[in-house]
Structure formats: structure tokens, C-alpha cells
């Protein structure tokens, strides 16, 4: 049996979890094994319908009032119990903060290896996987051993696909035996006022600035362009390290992953750790003084020139065409 560990919001699987289910369904076919899914928490069974289009045989729901809140060790212990009872050959989860954390606890508790951020999986004993290193700018082919193979799936390694054929999903609730100690860490969501700001991850346009912007004040022209285009301002790590912008603006391996229609990279060289953060952009426009900069090679459009001069001119032009 293959077990997909599904992360959910009030029972509805997250996008990354649907990707996991898609991969798990594929592997189940390849291995001629049934596919089960597990959700943790009392609301876990409320979206059971979704699982019918992913070839799921049984949906296991860990039901305990204390599991309504996210508690990494308790969630992992629930999986330990299920794995001990159902003996899956493979457990696959998301590589979200939660997925990665729960799977790591599970691996430690079962003394098993865990391959994180896999993009390809070849069953066998051992399994052979391709996994991401360096945020995806480098791949590793690796062997995963152990009686149960544990993997997390890299975000967007494939597209989630509901199958047109439906299965009957049996929902099986159980109450795992959990000591109080498993709840030493309980993660509580904070309800916060919506700032109305366009978030970097969701923006349709991102105007990103690098060291070539010259100063914190230099970002004013990027802010203006972002405003004209209804976008958000991003930056490189060089800029956050200089203290010109907050880390929440950083795009890249250790920052935010963006997926806008257009990414305008201003005075950014295009280091691999930056590019893994913006490779989901539909189009990239680079503005750089150096025609040989890596970003220019990877962009769809480029303007070779001084970022402040170029932005000043285009901002003026936009104000003019808009009659302001």
C-alpha cells in the first residue's frame, strides 16, 4: 500500500497535497499497489469527496480534538501508529513547512531515511529518486533505503490532476494513542488584519531590485513602476544584506518564490539562488548595465542601461500616456 500524507485546511487538501495525491496515484499504478490517504484532525473527513478522483481506496482520519490544532510531534505520532498498523511500502507528503516537519519527525521516530523535495520517483528496493538541492538549481539522484520509504514531493514538480474515473473511498476514523508530551509544541494561527498590500508571491507583476539600484532611496523608482503596473516590489539578497529592503521582499532560495506574469529585474545579476525564486515567472525583463550578466541571458526581454535612467524615463512615459 502507498500512503499519501495530506495536508489540509478544514479538510480540503492544499494544492501541494493534490500534487502529492497525483504522484501517489501514478506510483500506485506502477507498483500495482492500492493507494490510501491520511488526514490528521477532526475536520479531516469533511472533504472526502475530493479523494474519489485520485484513486484513493481508503481515507484514514486521525480524530482527536487535540489534533484540530497543528502539533508536529502529535501529527507524526499519529502517522507512526498508522504505518505500524497498515504497513505501507511508501509514505509521501508535501514539502511545505508542515509536510517537511511532520515527515522529519516520522522519519526520526521510525529510524528511517527521508528524501526531501523529490521531483521524480522510481520504485524498487532501494527506491531511486531525483531530489532538489540548492532550492532546485541542482538535482541529486539518490537511493532511499529502509523498510518503508519516506519522501516529500517538491512543490510543482508536477501538475495536480483529478482523474475522470472515480473510486469509492472508505473513510476510516481512528483515535491515535497520544501522550501529552506529543503536544509540547502546538502551533496557533494568528488572525491578523489584512494590510491590503499585494503579496509578493501572488503579484501579477514584480519589480525586483538588486545591488545595481544603488541605494535604499533608489527603490523609489521601482515603487512607482510597481504602482503603475499594479505590482509588488521585490529584491535580491544583496539588497536585504545591505539593509535597503526588508527580508520579506527577498526573492530566491532563502526568500519568496514568485510566479508573476512579468518579472522586471533591475540591477540584479541573476545568481542561481535568485533565479530559483523567479523561474516560475511567465516573462522576465532584465534592466542591467552589463549585457553579459546571467540575468540578461535568462530573460525574455532586456534593456541594457542604467536602471535609474531607464526607470525614470519609463515612469515619465507612463504618466504621460495616462494623462497624469
Amino acid at each position: 500500500m502507498i500512503l499519501a500524507f495530506v495536508d489540509h485546511v478544514d479538510g480540503a487538501p492544499t494544492i501541494l497535497s493534490l500534487e502529492v495525491l497525483t504522484m501517489a496515484r501514478r506510483l500506485a499504478q506502477e507498483m500495482a499497489a492500492p493507494l490510501d490517504a491520511v488526514v490528521i484532525g477532526p475536520k479531516g473527513g469533511s472533504a472526502a469527496g475530493i479523494f474519489t478522483s485520485y484513486g484513493v481506496r481508503a481515507l484514514h482520519v486521525a480524530d482527536d480534538g487535540r489534533l484540530a490544532e497543528y502539533a508536529p510531534a502529535a501529527w507524526a505520532q499519529s502517522l507512526v501508529e498508522l504505518v505500524g498498523r497498515e504497513h505501507p511500502e511508501l509514505v509521501i507528503g508535501t514539502a511545505s513547512d508542515r509536510g517537511a516537519e511532520v515527515m522529519a519527525h516520522l522519519a526520526a521516530r521510525m529510524a528511517l531515511p527521508l528524501a526531501a523535495n523529490c521531483t521524480e520517483v522510481m520504485p524498487g528496493d532501494p527506491f531511486t529518486v531525483t531530489r532538489q538541492r540548492w532550492g532546485g538549481s541542482l538535482l541529486e539522484e539518490a537511493r532511499v533505503k529502509g523498510a518503508v520509504k519516506l519522501l516529500t514531493l517538491a512543490p510543482h514538480a508536477l501538475t495536480a490532476e483529478a482523474s475522470p474515473s472515480r473510486t469509492d473511498v472508505a473513510t476510516r476514523q481512528w483515535t491515535p494513542r497520544l501522550e501529552d508530551k506529543a503536544f509540547r509544541v502546538r502551533i496557533i494561527p494568528q488572525v491578523e488584519a489584512d494590510t491590503g498590500k499585494i503579496s509578493l508571491a501572488q503579484a501579477r507583476v514584480v519589480v525586483g531590485g538588486g545591488r545595481g539600484v544603488g541605494s535604499a532611496e533608489g527603490f523609489a523608482s521601482l515603487e512607482e513602476l510597481a504602482q503603475h503596473l499594479g505590482g509588488a516590489v521585490g529584491c535580491s539578497r544583496a539588497v536585504t544584506s545591505l539593509g535597503w529592503r526588508p527580508h520579506s521582499d527577498q526573492v530566491g532560495q532563502t526568500g519568496t518564490r514568485i510566479a508573476p506574469d512579468l518579472y522586471i529585474a533591475c540591477g540584479i545579476s541573476g545568481a542561481i539562488q535568485h533565479m530559483v525564486g523567479c523561474r516560475a515567472a511567465k516573462h522576465i525583463l532584465a534592466i542591467n548595465t552589463d549585457p553579459a550578466a546571467p540575468i540578461v541571458q535568462q530573460a525574455d526581454y532586456a534593456v541594457i542601461g542604467d536602471v535609474q535612467k531607464v526607470l525614470r524615463a519609463v515612469n515619465t512615459q507612463i504618466r504621460k500616456v495616462r494623462g497624469r
Binding site: 517537511a100 522529519a104 503596473l229 532560495q253
Partner: protein, 254 residues
């Protein structure tokens, strides 16, 4: 308060990555090395905690002799002691790495040195297993929080914040604990010259752990396939604002 911070030496790659001919390693002949970014912030956070609450800080790495550079970089920022778990440069998988770190912490405990916080990066930059800290916490039976973007110690507990797509989440955890932090939790300071000089002279304690098989084995590294690609240069040094406005219109952004 006593804080132990675990760091990893990684190549400072930039514009592109080249591999060694056998595909086993990154070709580092022309590269410098650095501390993995999340761990740079872990080091800074450890130093700040001690500045605020008093106590001692120790930094630890599992790596080759050359990783003493990164230990000294951490000491230059204000960490007092350093421990090298010296390897022959071979790859250690996350389970094996965690086991060696656990043994080192137990040896510290036997020598009368206990830690209130064992600090990790959320993931190492190069191998990104997202697990060494969690494994250490489980082996030592300590609570663990990962993906931390802010922390505050008060009395015997630590309050941590994590960022989600839609906002924040928090947790209150009793110490001792294992905490794995993300870049952005702070802006690491630059080392001072006296700090550097002091770090240079410091003794580094060494342990040589035995390599072990953790069950995850690297076969080879591969570069992702890049789709063929061409760039349209809209202009060079002239006024290209008309072309840009046209482009924005074509993409329905204006």
C-alpha cells in the same frame, strides 16, 4: 542560558554551478565557501540571546578540517566556543549527521555542559534535507519548532513565530528546546576586526566521529535541463520608454 548552534560549510555558488567530471560534487576550484544562510541567522540569533540574557554560546559543525573557517567566522560574530566533528570530506546523510551531533551533545552533557537551546537552520543550503534539527530533537527527547521567523525568550519558555501564506502562527515552548530558524529572523551583523582577530587565535575542539550509513545515498548530482532560450534586447543606452510601454500593453499590464 547556554546556546549551541549547528552550522554547515557550503560553497558560495553564484552565477552558475559546474560539477566535477564524476558528477559527485560541485566543482569548487573557483569558489569560496560560506555558512549556509539560515544558519548565519541562527548564529546571529544565538549571539543576541546571550547579549540579552547572559550565558554561553557554542558553535558546532560536522565537516572537513577546512570547515574551521566557518567556525571562526561564527566566533568572529561573538560565539565563544567551537567544536569540529571532523570528517574526511565524504558525504554524510541527514540521519548520520544528526546521530553524530547527538553524540557530541551527549558528550557535552557528560562533561557538565548542557544547552537550553540547540539552534539549527531550517534547511542546509546544499543538501536541503529539512530534517537534521528534527532528528536531533527526537533523539534528545526535546520539543522542536522549525521554520521560525521570530523568537523571544522569557523565563523558561520561548515564544516563536512562523510565517504562512496568509499570515503568522505562533507557539510557546518550554526550554530546553531545538529551534530551526529561517533567514529573515534577523539581519546578521558584520564581524568586527577585533572579533576576527580574537576568533583567529581561539582553540577549536575536535572530535572524529565514525562515518555511518543513514540510508539515503547520493548516486550523483545533475544540473537541471534548461530549455533553449533567446532574449529580445529592447534597447541599449537609448531611451526605450516607448518600447517598454508597448511591452507592458502587449502583456495587458497597462
Amino acid at each position: 542560558m547556554n546556546v549551541l548552534t549547528c552550522i554547515k560549510r557550503v560553497p558560495a555558488t553564484a552565477g552558475h554551478i559546474a560539477l566535477t567530471p564524476d558528477g559527485q560534487e560541485i566543482d569548487t576550484r573557483y569558489l569560496g565557501f560560506t555558512i549556509s544562510p539560515h544558519e548565519e541567522c541562527a548564529v546571529e540569533e544565538a549571539v543576541r540571546l546571550i547579549e540579552k540574557h547572559g550565558g554561553t554560546t557554542t558553535v558546532l559543525t560536522l565537516g572537513p578540517e577546512a570547515a574551521t573557517d566557518q567556525l571562526r567566522d561564527a566566533m568572529a560574530l561573538g560565539i565563544e566556543r567551537a567544536i569540529l566533528l571532523e570528517t574526511d570530506g565524504r558525504e554524510w546523510d541527514p540521519a548520520a549527521t544528526a546521530a553524530a551531533i547527538v553524540e557530541a551533545i551527549q558528550a557535552e552533557r557528560a562533561a557538565g555542559r548542557t544547552y537550553d537551546i540547540v539552534m539549527f537552520g531550517n534547511e542546509s543550503a546544499d543538501s536541503a534535507g529539512y530534517q537534521v534539527g528534527v532528528r536531533v530533537s527526537e533523539a534528545l527527547d526535546l520539543p522542536c519548532v522549525t521554520a521560525i521567523k521570530a523568537l523571544d525568550v522569557a523565563g523558561g519558555t520561548v515564544n516563536v513565530r512562523r510565517q504562512t501564506e496568509s499570515g503568522w502562527e505562533t507557539a510557546e515552548v518550554a526550554l530546553p528546546a531545538v529551534l530551526a530558524v529561517k533567514e529573515g529572523i534577523n539581519l546578521p551583523r558584520y564581524p568586527s576586526l577585533p572579533g576576527r582577530l580574537k576568533a583567529k587565535k581561539k582553540e577549536i575542539e575536535r572530535i572524529k566521529p565514525e562515518w555511518r550509513d543513514g540510508g539515503l545515498e547520493k548516486v550523483r548530482l545533475k544540473l537541471p535541463v534548461q530549455a533553449a532560450h533567446s532574449v529580445e534586447v529592447l534597447g541599449k543606452n537609448g531611451d526605450v520608454s516607448a518600447e517598454l510601454v508597448q511591452l507592458f500593453r502587449r502583456l495587458s499590464l497597462l
